[in-house]
């Protein structure tokens, strides 16, 4: 990853969309940037943090997205251009603040939020379309179609934000955030940041800017709609809206975001350049109605291509209804007609499918004989379930939980949470995590379930969360449990990093986003101060961990916390910490199918570093993968897996 501060203006670089966004933030001259890690948005803050020493910008990882946007809004109130970044779920956390910020408006510095959505849900546990929030709170929204455009759009978003005095959203998707492509950096501003000052209370020349209170809302709600109409006017002539194709097309495609290039490629692939046109909308809320109305008059058929919710589709159909009877001749295709889906990720192939159907074309990418080979090949290829890494401490934690619950014998269960340990709901965590919702929800659920003893619930209640998740959203739930005298055991899987999203630091790591030393907000101290009983274990010490779990579950009341502390194996790798053990299998002890363990190590335990030797049929260590954690030596009933201390 290149340092985005040192890229040469005018040169061509290969940049990830998230890096291009970060470069846009620098080119816009923003002085404050904040965020919480969440794929597909996680790389923006690290790129800015790396650039922070060469540029005049303050960069932080905040404890959660609501705090992050508050930090950025503080910058705006004091007159500094500010930036905030999050994934779609983060927008929900931030919403409580944002739905008031629309009323107060921003300060003297523009405020831009980049939200990266995840169509297809590759890195998320939901597939929500965050564009709705812009409509919900009447704030402007734009969607880039490439990395280069993302960079330009961030810069322009500051102009819009300052022109209408509103927070402005730039919405990406995983495909924009993670695609690396040619980007030409622009100049970085030469002038220093303005002096930050919270406005004087009795500044009569600027009464609106002297306070940021969302009530009394009747005073602010009407001006908000005036601001939105002003944004619409600006959007009518935005450089990010463009039209390609014949003047009077048989079919007009209205596209936005990543889908735009799918449309252009699909039209080319089917040789429809003379019959089909593409209206690309970079500004999607408020809809530039005059621009869209002008193009609706040129055609009889309209296809909407956008990922997830039919957001633009509904806005345009609403406009078409308002323009009746002028628009009575139009037929609409898109999510509503079933030509594209309002879920999942789109592709050029899905656009080709829709175009072929509407235009009455047959499209066959490969001949039949080859297609048959493909079907045979696909049948031969097994699924490849995702797993925890070799040496992952979560595997040890869940193994301890599985055995602890089994020894306890009262049908105890674990409320899961969001992080690498989410995999606890499936094979890698031995199906131990039984719920998964939002960050911190496991503990909130446990707090409620731990109160149901009076109605006969006599199963031990456990919750699990990661260290970063603990600071993000678990603390209020834990306080709730202690305050209401609930009965549950919280396991904090402390692997010293926000591992799922790329090892970002957090309040427990002693380091800030820019690498400066920070006070450690200690997990043990926080939990004890809240009134919980606290124990700390290394999950790789299985006997002690299982004993601790049994002891905690046996306690009849109160909130118990077990901190499962062991560094993420990938962080160990990055810090070049050598493996503790050199593993091998003693072929004379492994009885393979004759053992009666039913291949406990490869089938159930399932560390990727273990395999079955094709020749002997016995267990074997995959040298290319084994991390030398030594855990498998503790689980083999025949003691055939041997670890030699390195």
């Amino acid at each position: 990853m290149a340092n985005i501060a040192t890229l040469k203006p005018g040169s061509t670089c290969l940049l990830m969309g998230n890096e291009a966004v970060a470069r846009g933030v620098l080119e816009a001259g923003a002085g404050v940037a904040s965020g919480y890690p969440g794929s597909p948005s996680s790389e923006v803050i690290p790129a800015l943090a790396e650039a922070a020493s060469q540029t005049d910008i303050y960069v932080e990882w905040s404890t959660n997205e609501k705090v992050a946007v508050e930090v950025a809004a503080g910058g705006s109130f004091a007159g500094i251009r500010s930036f905030c970044v999050m994934k779609q779920n983060g927008a929900n956390v931030a919403a409580d603040f944002i739905v008031n910020l629309n009323m107060t408006g921003i300060g003297g510095g523009g405020l831009v939020i980049f939200i990266s959505d995840d169509p297809g849900g590759g890195t998320s546990n939901n597939e929500q379309d965050s564009r709705t929030i812009a409509k919900w709170i009447d704030n402007p929204l734009m969607e880039p179609s490439s990395a280069q455009e993302a960079k330009e759009m961030i810069k322009w978003a500051y102009e819009v934000s300052e022109a209408v005095n509103l927070l402005t959203f730039v919405r990406g998707v995983g495909r924009i955030s993670y695609t690396r492509s040619n980007v030409v950096p622009g100049e970085l501003p030469r002038k220093a940041q303005p002096e930050a000052v919270f406005p004087e209370i009795w500044d009569r020349n600027n009464p609106r800017k002297s306070r940021f209170t969302s009530g009394p809302f009747p005073v602010f709600h009407a001006p908000l709609h005036e601001k939105l109409e002003k944004a619409r006017e600006i959007f009518e002539t935005s450089p990010f809206n463009s039209y390609t194709g014949p003047e009077k097309p048989e079919l007009l495609i209205i596209a936005c975001g990543a889908s735009t290039s799918y449309c252009i490629e699909g039209v080319n692939e089917l040789n429809l350049e003379d019959r089909v046109s593409v209206l690309k909308l970079g500004t999607t809320w408020p809809l530039p109605e005059k621009l869209v109305a002008k193009h609706l008059k040129t055609t009889c058929k309209v296809l909407f291509v956008e990922e997830m919710d039919p957001f633009v589709e509904r806005s345009v159909m609403e406009l078409a209804a308002a323009l009746l009877p002028e628009t009575a001749h139009l037929t609409f295709f898109g999510a509503r007609s079933g030509h594209l889906t309002p879920y999942g990720e789109l592709s050029t192939d899905s656009v080709i499918g829709a175009l072929a159907d509407i235009m009455g074309i047959t499209y066959q990418p490969r001949d039949r004989a080859y297609e048959e080979m493909c079907v045979e090949a696909a049948a031969l290829v097994p699924g490849r379930p995702i797993n925890m890494c070799p040496g992952c401490p979560h595997r040890a934690t869940y193994w301890a939980v599985k055995n602890g619950l089994s020894l306890d014998g009262r049908n105890g269960f674990v409320c899961g949470d969001v992080g690498c340990y989410s995999m606890g709901f499936a094979g890698p965590g031995f199906y131990q995590a039984r719920t998964m919702h939002a960050m911190g929800s496991g503990t909130g659920l446990a707090s409620g379930l731990g109160k149901l003893g009076r109605f006969g619930l006599d199963q031990p209640v456990l919750a699990i969360c990661g260290d970063s998740t603990f600071y993000h959203a678990v603390m209020p739930a834990l306080a709730n449990g202690v305050y209401n005298n609930s009965n549950f055991t919280l396991l904090i899987a402390d692997n010293s990093a926000t591992a799922m999203t790329g090892f970002q630091p957090h309040p427990g790591t002693g380091q800030t986003a820019t690498g400066e030393p920070a006070k450690v907000v200690e997990l043990e101290a926080v939990c004890r101060a809240m009134g919980a009983t606290v124990e700390t274990c290394d999950p790789f010490d299985l006997p002690k961990t299982i004993d601790t779990l049994l002891k905690m579950m046996a306690e009849e009341s109160g909130v118990k916390v077990v901190i499962m502390r062991h560094m993420c194996q990938l962080v160990k790798g990055k810090r070049k910490i050598a493996p503790s053990w050199k593993m091998h299998v003693d072929g004379s002890k492994c009885l393979a199918d004759a053992c009666g363990c039913h291949r406990l190590c490869t089938r159930l335990f399932g560390c990727p570093g273990l395999m079955v030797d094709g020749e002997t049929g016995k267990a074997a260590i995959d040298e290319a993968l084994c991390a030398g954690c030594g855990l498998c030596a503790q689980i083999c009933p025949a003691h055939a897996i041997i670890g030699e201390e390195v």
């Binding site: 061509t12 495909r175 690396r180 040619n182 050029t348 493909c374 490849r384 995702i386 395999m611 040298e623």
Partner: protein, 201 residues
Amino acid sequence: MRPGKLEKEPYNVIIAGVGGQGNVLLSGFIGAALVNEGFMVSVADTFGVSQRGGSVASHIKISRKTLYSSVTLKGKADLLIGMEPVETLRSLAEFGNPGIISIVNPRPFYPSGGVAYPDLGEVRRAIERMSSRTSYVNVTEEALKMGNPIYSNIILLGAVIGAGVLPLGEESIFPLLAERFPGEILEINLRAFRKGIELVS
């Protein structure tokens, strides 16, 4: 293919592997080298299951004229770099066509969770049948000989460059290796890269 000359517009490359094998590193080298040579490039990597043992693929679309979307159309890949046999076949089934060239690391990476791996011979025969040309390069084996499986993707990079299937020569890669591997680790990575070239020559 000669350095700087693109034989097809766009030229579609797929790197198929398993999360953790380093396909993002490989696609990054190839993408950056292509940009330095003046090509328009889109590189899309599977995200989410990297490092976690799922099947992953990087798609690289190369053009002289325009920036394309990053994902290959069904049946339209020109070059398949397979870091693992089953993953090679998975990508062939979706993106293969009679003209595709496959360069494959023949060492299996077994799925976890008790999922059975198909007969390797059958997988190899299917790959060969579905490709116009197949080269196997034992990169994991060679990397283990060099002392660490981590070198396998740089060896594979050398093999791909040596095979002349990209509009890139070894000179386009050297400065990138020097940038990525500063200090004493450069030498072993250069050795790995040259080993890859040697394996296909």
